[in-house]
């Protein structure tokens, strides 16, 4: 398996060419800094993303509260995480930092509120 990965560590946007399989990398080239190499390796073996969305809130000064994953989630689980988030029904007040879904789908990552919704 080989992949061209555009590095997003900085605005330079190097194209990193990686060859390997699911478990190991046999060759990596095109990076121009150590952070780029680390990004290329992680992006090839186990890509992760921060997920952000909104959840429904009842009885507040806003119908939605913004939320995020407290840490990066496996890229392949993003759409499944969205199903959990869609099922949320919160009640005001909600404060920035509140844990809304602990350990989502057993990833060890919490879903937390990033905004505030006051009780009406």
């Amino acid at each position: 398996m080989e992949k061209d990965i555009i590095c997003t560590v900085c605005p330079t946007g190097c194209t990193i060419h990686v060859v390997g399989d699911e478990k190991s990398i046999t060759s990596i080239e095109g990076f121009t800094c150590p952070r780029g190499k680390a990004y290329g390796e992680a992006e090839f073996l186990a890509p992760v993303r921060t997920l952000t969305s909104t959840a429904l809130v009842e009885g507040g000064d806003s119908v939605l509260v913004a939320l995020r994953s407290a840490g990066p989630l496996p890229k392949g689980k993003i759409m499944d995480c969205m199903k959990e988030i869609h099922a949320l029904r919160l009640t005001a007040p909600v404060s920035c930092g509140d844990v809304l879904i602990p350990n989502i789908l057993g990833t060890g990552v919490d879903i937390v509120a990033t905004g505030n919704v006051a009780k009406l």
């Binding site: 605005p11 121009t32 993303r49 952000t52 909104t54 939605l64 913004a66 995020r68 905004g115």
Partner: protein
Amino acid sequence: MYDIKCDVAVIGGGPAGLAAAVAAKKEGAEKVLIIERDEKLGGILQQCIHPGFGLKLFKEELTGPEYFGRFVKEAKEIGVEALLNSMVLEIGDKEVFCINSKYGVTRITAGAIVLAMGCRERTRANIQIPGTRPAGVYTAGAAQRLMNRQNEMVGKKVVILGSGDIGMIMARRMTLEGAKVVAVIELMDFLAGLTRNRVQCLDDFGIPLMLSHTIVDIKGNDRVEGVVVAEVDANKRPVAGTEQLFECDTLLLSVGLIPENEITRKANIKINPITNGPEVNNFMQTSTPSVFASGNVVHVNDLVDNVSTESAIAGASAAKFAMGKLGGGDEITVTTGNNVRYVCPQKVSPNSDEKVSFYFRVLAPKKGVRITAKDGDNVLYTRKAIKVNPGEIEKVTVDPKGIKSLTVEVTEEA
């Protein structure tokens, strides 16, 4: 008429206004008042729920609500006041007239004013897309507000015109909420927004990006039924015979931003024809000495961190002006050299004791370049850059003490 007096009046409660107000208060202005037309502070960041903010300023990656939340908290703690649900209609040198449903027409008298109105999106009318006029054509930011603040899903099958950051972020957002994004269409032959947004918003979800294409027709009567996409030639004209119909129920436009300067123009403040924002000096002071300006109302930024930094200068300078302590005097105008579209601030005082950062955009993407700021033959600043791109703001920092002229240029490295 209802009257309010303050030291510094800040028009707009988004990231620019919040940073300016906090800085003004910290500089010693006693009463600092933000005038905001929305029901809450935070501006556009309220709907920018995605991460990517604060990397420069806070050295961590925050979402929009987290980023402005920090400024709102600080503003409240130090006693910045806010007048919400209030639309500013007109300003004078030291007066702001606004209207709200509680006080009616209100006059705010201030020692200095900071313009922080931000910008608004270009619309279908601005770019004149032919076709019928059905429902389902939104600017990307309007759709973002509807989805992220009001819980209104705007469509199920979407085409996005323009590869600006808001458009790409909405492509991901709509996909996460279950919509199908058919394609992102870009007139230019390069990406308008940041590369990381292309990777994380388009490539991650297999959304095609079509460079050098545009929309030549919109189909549908009550609701959008499809758009006709065509390739463009080197002169950006559609190439006959390349048209293809993309079925969709929604078209999102991410085709640029316009600084919102109606009240600035009405006050006869000098507007720069390239940035469409007020011309400012290194204090972020406009052609009217008591009026300062910062953030997207001056020039469209790509990072909010820059907006906050620039706005802190505007706020602190406005406070100094209100207290009669702002220096200045002679000014020189910055010259845009090779491959530089504009530089902001446009003017600088050679009496300034502090180093000044100048932000600029290039005209065309180039690889292997040198960025230089010089006074005649005297090089004040120079560095190599691997590449430059019109979508990404560059910066030079210069000690202006005693300079006679200033030119910023981007040349190809030999």
